[in-house]
């Protein structure tokens, strides 16, 4: 069964293509025409899903690129040799995709959907206007000596290419980056991913395939006008096919395109007057009956199969505690192995980072501070969330950022990690100014963080969550080495052996552990922890404190926002106390916690004064 799961998709794709390849040899002209339609929609829907599947950006601009390809042929088809025409079409598609992508990929959700539709319509209107007013005729004739069979084989080659490219992308760092972006763009940037570049790259690849498909299909019409070449129905049909099949996997769109093209053909031939009613009903059935597409049905079968596997898998698969049911080898790699203060310090060091040797100088308070914040401020409307905050963090120290709820601690962290731009002030890190840099750049300088409201990537496995960071940090690594490193880090935070478990199945505490592993995977110099210890039970708290202490021994500098006083007392060398956006105390932990204004801020003015 596992062999079927493993090779099933490849067999499905190659089987379908092989069956289609027989059509020109055995079938009639009608069959070839049908096969051309099937192939063209396979390419379009697969190319569409290449970008839209992982990122979740629903693009209705498919027909814009398709039409550009067709019109390139209409204009240049008789002037240049055919391969050159296709190349020119691909280049035009690439340039348009880059321009469009650069300007639009920062739009999100529905804004992108409507924008992409508007773009296709704008191009159609402009081409129509140009043809009528300048060309003096709405349509153009495409007289090229390219028969139906030739078109078929070109599309066939294109289909093979799109699957190969799709397969390569999914195996690559770029594929993982897009999945991360699709789940949570903020996390993606905090993994060091340049989200704009990743999205743009795949949008361009997808668009080039669509453009070339339009070019290849053009000779089939002999006459084209903007209403044919830029028919918005094509965009919608491609979306529906991809979603019916399942846009999340490479072979999904194929599962949608084949049956729908055949169905449309049958409906169109038998019920021409009720075509649109039946088409509409098919869409509705798809939405209600197959929310995750045909591939989703198969996928569900997979996961059931997976859970029914050998007992050792079952424990992992059901998201139980790693320590509860495991014996032997498993237990020896559980949280029990997390170093207690003073014990396996040396082994832990090599564990955290192969290059940890450079961090031998641990607590170097005298030298230049690692992080220096000067007069930082940020307002939301009339609220001054951070109001002229300044403090320094020495190399190798742990600084606690504490204060009542709403005092601006998390906002301060968000400003440091580049999640939001500051209104004023400066942030210097490791001798260079990082104020206002993008999060991914800041990550590359050496700052990693966890979030107060845990942000793990639910659909990805634990290992992939960590791999995303390893693959896009300053000195990235990929492949077996990265996978091994991810496993080591998961073991370090107490998630040993749970690499293949989807992060969405983790408990709250385990998600926090995973988030820490992801942050450590970035090989940071400075780690920002936002209430990482909140919500832990007493045993877990002790383990958590020991873990953070071991990170410090490895030479990591830490800024932690925290409310758990035990942890602050035992871990923090210094504390910065914030209240209503300002720093009200800054110094050694013991003195700061005893200072009257700090007590007043925590307990309320009246209590402290009276």
């Amino acid at each position: 069964m596992s062999a079927i799961l493993r090779y099933g998709p490849a067999a499905l794709v190659s089987g379908t293509l092989a069956a289609l390849a027989l059509v020109p040899l055995l079938g009639s002209d009608y069959h070839v025409a049908l096969a051309v339609a099937v192939l063209s929609y396979i390419v379009l829907a697969t190319a569409w899903a290449l970008f839209s599947g992982p990122t979740g950006y629903v693009s209705l601009a498919t027909v814009a690129f398709f039409g550009i390809g067709a019109y390139t042929v209409a204009v240049l088809g008789e002037v240049l040799p055919w391969p050159v025409v296709l190349l020119v079409a691909a280049l035009i598609g690439l340039v348009v995709a880059l321009v469009v992508g650069l300007s639009t990929l920062r739009l999100s959700g529905i804004y992108f959907v409507v924008f992409s539709f508007g773009l296709a319509e704008l191009i159609r209107q402009l081409v129509t206007w140009y043809e009528v007013n300048v060309g003096r005729s709405v349509g153009r004739y495409v007289f090229l000596d390219i028969g139906q069979t030739a078109i078929f084989w070109q599309l066939f080659g294109l289909a093979v290419a799109v699957f190969v490219v799709g397969w390569l992308v999914r195996r690559s760092r770029l594929g993982l980056a897009l999945q991360v972006i699709g789940e949570d763009e903020t996390v993606a940037r905090h993994c060091g991913i340049d989200t704009t570049r990743a999205k743009l790259a795949l949008f361009a690849v997808s668009s080039v395939f669509i453009t070339v498909t339009g070019a290849v299909m053009a000779p089939r019409w002999t006459y084209i006008d903007p209403a044919i070449a830029f028919n918005p129905l094509v965009s919608f049909q491609v979306v529906v096919m991809a979603l019916l099949g399942g846009a999340g996997v490479l072979y999904g769109p194929l599962l949608g395109a084949v049956p729908l093209v055949l169905l449309f053909d049958v409906i169109g031939a038998n019920f021409p007057n009720h075509f649109s009613i039946l088409l509409g009903l098919v869409f509705v059935v798809v939405v209600y009956g197959l929310p995750r597409g045909v591939a989703g049905l198969l996928g569900r079968a997979n996961s059931i199969e997976h859970r029914a596997g050998p007992p050792s898998h079952r424990v992992r698969g059901e998201g139980g505690s790693p320590r509860s049911g495991e014996t032997g080898e498993g237990a020896s790699r559980g949280y029990a192995d997390a170093p207690s203060p003073g014990s396996h310090a040396s082994s832990v060091r090599s564990d955290l980072s192969p290059r940890a040797g450079r961090r031998e100088t641990c607590l170097d308070v005298s030298g230049e501070p690692l992080l220096e914040i000067v007069d930082l401020s940020k307002s939301f409307g009339g609220v001054r969330a951070v109001d002229g905050v300044s403090f320094q963090v020495a190399r190798g120290s742990i600084v606690g950022l504490i204060g009542p709820n709403g005092s601006g601690k998390t906002t301060a962290l968000n400003l440091i990690s580049g999640l939001i731009p500051p209104r004023g002030g400066a942030i210097r890190f490791d001798g260079a100014e990082i104020t206002g840099l993008r999060s991914d750049r800041i990550v590359h300088r050496g700052i990693a963080r966890t979030f107060q409201l845990v942000r793990v990537l639910d659909e990805l496995t634990c290992a992939d969550n960590v791999m995303a960071a390893i693959a896009f940090r300053r000195h990235p690594s990929w492949g077996e080495k990265a996978r091994h490193r991810a496993a080591t880090l998961l073991a370090r935070v107490g998630l040993a052996g749970r690499d293949e478990e989807p992060a969405g199945r983790l408990t709250y505490i385990d998600s926090k552990r995973l988030e820490l592993a992801r942050a450590l995977a970035l090989d940071p110099k400075l780690l920002l922890l936002d209430e990482w210890l909140a919500g832990l039970n007493p045993t877990e708290l002790q383990e958590g404190i020991a873990l953070i202490a071991s990170l410090k021994r490895d030479g990591l500098t830490i800024v932690m926002v925290e409310h758990v006083m035990d942890a602050i007392r035992s871990l923090c060398d210094r504390c910065v106390v914030m209240n209503t956006g300002r720093t009200i105390a800054d110094g050694g932990t013991a003195e700061v916690l005893a200072a009257p204004e700090v007590v007043r801020a925590y307990l309320g003015g009246g209590d402290a004064d009276d």
Binding site: V58, G109, F115, G118, G280, L281, F283, Y288
Partner: protein
């Protein structure tokens, strides 16, 4: 007098855009359903007004009395039957958006197909209050002025309902944050259904008013939907005043381009304006940042 002409025609057209966009922003901003079959409701209302006028001699303004409750009920039913299952199923807002786009896209085809079967593809229109009047040196048909007046009355009425009544406050609360609205004992599903139905009724009103002075056919729904959507997005999702401003702006620019440049470029001008606005302000003219 070209300027007055453009201003007046632009305002009338823009008023219609604003009215229909307000309905869509209710549906999308409150019920979180992006209804692609929106324009079909408008076309259906226009045809109903046409049938009432030519078949039973009911004038469109009286017809509104029948069309509005009918559209309200029909949209309520669409929400309860078709869309509530999707709302229940959706784990995130994005998932609901995708599902609702697809489901209402199917609905669009079904409604459009029914329209074609009954009325075919040709254009329809009727003459009602089509006498010209002269205003500030330019001539306009009375029906256009009446339509603008009604649109204004409906818009003001809606604004009053939303800002001055308990139900209206609940609707605004759901628009801002459905989860928090639930915490203060607002029945989110009922309110969302109400907003969806009210949006559909506004849309139908727009259809009836437009039918008094424009010719229409069964295929025009998509165009209406896109224009309403463009106005909503330009104005900022869920923002009534934004929809008003964006609608008027779109009407004025469209008329100006038609009169001054080339009537063939009006749609292109529409989309160009829309794309331009989104590029400068990714969440619309008056939209709040998404996160």
């Amino acid at each position: 007098m070209l300027l007055v002409d453009i201003l007046l025609s632009g305002l009338i057209l823009g008023g219609m855009y604003a009215l229909t966009a307000m309905g869509l922003t209710l549906q999308y901003g409150v019920a979180r359903i992006l209804n692609l079959a929106y324009g079909e409701v408008m076309v259906a209302a226009a045809f109903t007004a046409y049938v009432l006028f030519t078949g039973a001699a009911v004038v469109p303004l009286l017809g509104l009395l029948l069309v509005l409750p009918l559209a309200f009920a029909a949209n309520w039913a669409i929400y309860r039957v078709m869309l509530v299952p999707l709302v229940r199923r959706a784990r995130t807002r994005a998932a609901l958006e995708t599902d609702s786009i697809l489901a209402t896209f199917g609905l669009l085809f079904v409604l459009q197909g029914i329209g074609f079967v009954i009325f075919g593809g040709q254009y329809y229109g009727y003459a009602y209050l089509s006498a010209p009047v002269s205003i500030l040196g330019t001539t306009v048909a009375v029906n256009r002025l009446v339509a603008l007046g009604f649109a204004a009355v409906l818009a003001v009425g809606l604004y009053w309902l939303l800002t001055r009544t308990r139900t209206g406050t609940a609707i605004r609360a759901v628009a801002v944050n459905p989860d928090a609205a639930r915490l203060v004992a607002i029945d989110v599903q009922t309110i969302a259904g109400l907003a969806f139905a009210a949006g559909g009724a506004l849309c139908a009103a727009g259809g009836v008013l437009v039918s008094m002075f424009l010719t229409f056919n069964a295929a025009m729904g998509v165009l209406f939907t896109m224009k309403a959507l463009i106005v909503v997005i330009m104005g900022g999702v869920g923002n009534l005043l934004g929809a008003l401003a964006a609608g008027l702006l779109l009407g004025l620019i469209e008329t100006a381009v038609a009169r001054l440049v080339d009537p063939g470029l009006t749609l292109a001008a529409n989309y160009a304006l829309f794309l331009g606005v989104l590029l400068v302000r990714p969440t619309g003219l008056f939209g709040r940042p998404a996160r």
